[in-house]
């Protein structure tokens, strides 16, 4: 074997192993993060963490009950604002529409997807907090909802477009008109994919901190209704992690574990659900 060939062969093995190492590094980071959070956060997860309100600064025994409820309320609002608009918009793109307007909508959706979440927070501040003259769960919900819309819209469109023509034509052949075809045949056929998209979008906004900093603000107590500031998991993690109190740090780890757990479990379940099969034969 000539020297050159030997060199080429060993380079081949070397470089390909390097790429394998790249994958190894990437994958192990995730497991490391998860493992560390489980280790550090798990030991401070307690019943009081889930049920108590925050204690006065410097005292032990506080919990994050209001932050957990706050996050859930914010997610509910985000879903209410974002999902119908995104869903219907996706239907428009896939089923109606022509050349220019759908192009504008798709472009805008991609644009909005790329906007940093802090800028969306500024937007929600100007739109909701300033006229209302206080911070509120509503403002936070609007900010998160704005982030949900483009994701759900593009996702809905993509799954609707995937539904084979034969199903649509079959519906027409049975005498259905357009909206009936969409509502009773196409949407159900794509429903699995659409649901996964919605859940993934919600899982993503559940972890967002920046847009909540000056919309939902924060609250040491329960936040009744929708027009008062509210505590939320990501914001509390940020506040406690950057503070000096050891008790706060422990709570931040525990909360981080809860948040990460929620997000990862949603992602895993939802994607597994999607790949298990669809309601029709994919052509």
């Amino acid at each position: 074997m000539s020297l050159r060939l030997a060199w080429r062969k060993s380079l081949n093995v070397f470089m390909l192993s390097l790429t394998g190492i790249c994958v190894l590094i990437t994958v192990s980071v995730l497991f490391f993060i998860l493992g560390y959070l489980v280790y550090n956060g798990g030991k401070d997860l307690s019943w009081s963490f889930f049920t108590h309100l925050p204690a006065p600064v410097g005292e032990e025994g506080g919990g994050m009950a209001n932050a957990i409820l706050g996050s859930l309320k914010l997610l509910l609002l985000a879903a209410l604002f974002g999902v119908p608009i995104g869903l219907l918009g996706g239907v428009y793109l896939a089923e109606f529409g022509g050349r220019t307007f759908p192009f504008i909508i798709r472009y805008t959706a991609d644009l909005m997807n790329g906007v940093p979440s802090i800028v969306i927070g500024i937007f929600a501040y100007a739109l909701v907090v300033m006229p209302m003259h206080h911070f509120s769960t509503l403002a936070g919900g609007v900010a998160l909802g704005v982030m949900v819309i483009p994701t759900v819209l593009r996702n809905t469109e993509s799954f609707l477009v995937d539904v084979p023509r034969s199903l649509r034509e079959g519906a027409f052949a049975m005498g259905a008109n357009k909206w009936k075809m969409i509502a009773t045949v196409v949407l159900p056929a794509a429903s699995r994919g659409i649901m996964t998209g919605v859940l993934l979008a919600l899982a993503r906004v559940a972890g967002e901190t920046a847009p909540l900093l000056f919309t939902a603000f924060g609250n040491r107590f329960w936040s009744p209704g929708w027009d008062q500031p509210t505590s939320s998991l990501p914001v509390v993690i940020y506040t406690y992690a950057t503070g000096p109190y050891e008790d706060w740090h422990k709570q931040a780890w525990a909360a981080g574990l809860v948040l990460l757990g929620m997000v990862l479990v949603t992602n895993i379940l939802v994607r597994a659900f999607l790949t298990r099969g669809t309601a029709y034969e994919r052509t």
Binding site: V57, G58, L72, H133, G225, T242, G243, P244, Y245
Partner: protein, 342 residues
């Protein structure tokens, strides 16, 4: 049909969430200084236990934030350790009343590996460090005040506030009084153009950075240093004595001011005159910023009641948290001023 069921479920959830947590209590939102935050969080908690119908949600975002949110009317009242200046008062649409709540102190806190002694700082040392002119711990300006303490030749890591802060106001107010160079170059305000250093958000953030960064020095409110067991030094006052921040020395600083307290309660007590030997030179009142006019009678009455409680029963909680109580003369004046709130 399934979609209708989903919608009904969502609507039910919404109703439950709204009703379950909707309540009739008076909800007050406040924001501002981190300097008195341990005190306020204790007070609001105790007050809420005693008056379950009133809930005061205080967010510690810095005095600058408190002033701004108050002017924007996104909170019901604010808190600051730097009094509002005339420009800011003009921006508010209603008159704002300042109510001193407690006395606290900015302490020079440090974390130097191997140093467990309490250091003495002269005004020249402090202004030099924060101006970036004194860069090493074993600089003569520091070592001359600390004979017998071995200071390393390490670089000093300055930590300051990254947000608008009354604690900063107090610190820069003091430095402006003791260092003409500081006054010219940087000035005093809640947010300044720092010559050097790392920025932390809130007293909490600065304390957090101090804990984690060796060779660091920063200014934080006394209780943050105490609660987190961060070392803090003595400061030389104008009579030449090195004084440690504690209840007695902080109260001493306020003693003279108490007798000549202006009607609007805006006063600075840093660097008291040299007749006051026991005074800690970087002390300050901290104020609640209360609008003079409330549109909601329930909120107004709750605020007035809280203020009265705070000045009387509430003061018993100060000293365990290392804040000095208000002087008697100031309390008397404040109780009269509460009536100005409409």
């Amino acid at each position: 049909m399934r979609n209708v069921k989903v919608l009904c479920a969502l609507a039910a959830l919404l109703a439950i969430a709204t009703l379950a947590t909707a309540a009739g209590p008076v909800l007050l939102n406040a924001a501002g200084a981190t300097f008195p935050y341990p005190m306020y969080s204790k007070w609001f908690d105790v007050y809420h236990q005693a008056h379950p119908g009133v809930q005061i949600n205080y967010q510690s975002i810095g005095s600058g934030g408190g002033i701004r949110q108050l002017i924007d009317k996104t909170v019901d009242f604010g808190a600051s350790d730097g009094p509002m200046n005339d420009d800011q008062l003009k921006q508010a649409s209603v008159p704002i009343l300042h109510f001193p709540t407690v006395l606290g102190a900015d302490v020079p806190s440090y974390k130097i590996p191997g140093v467990t002694a309490e250091l003495n700082f002269s005004p020249e040392a402090l202004s030099g460090i924060f101006l970036g002119k004194i860069t090493k711990w074993n600089d003569p300006a520091i070592t001359s005040a600390n004979p017998g303490v071995k200071l390393p030749a390490d670089d000093i890591v300055v930590v300051h506030r990254s947000d608008g802060s009354g604690t900063t106001y107090i610190w820069t107010d003091y430095l402006s009084k003791v260092s003409p160079e500081w006054e010219k170059k940087v000035g005093k305000a809640t947010s300044v153009n720092w010559p050097v250093g790392l920025g932390g958000k809130g007293n909490e953030g600065v304390a957090g950075l101090l804990e984690q960064t060796p060779d660091s020095i920063g200014y934080i409110e006394l209780i943050y240093a105490v609660q987190n067991k961060i070392m803090y030094g003595r400061v030389k006052n104008s009579s030449g004595a090195f004084v440690k921040a504690e209840l007695a020395s902080v109260s001493a600083a306020a003693a003279a001011a108490a007798k000549i307290m202006p009607d609007d309660f805006r006063v600075s007590i840093t660097e008291p005159p040299n007749t006051n030997k026991a005074a800690y030179p970087i002390s300050s009142f901290t104020w609640l910023l209360i609008p003079g006019k409330f549109s909601d009678a329930g909120k107004r009455d709750a605020v007035k009641d809280f203020l009265k409680w705070m000045m009387t029963d509430g003061q018993q909680y100060c000293e365990p948290l290392a804040y000095a109580k208000l002087p008697k003369e100031v309390v008397a004046k404040e109780l009269k001023a509460i009536d100005k709130i409409q």
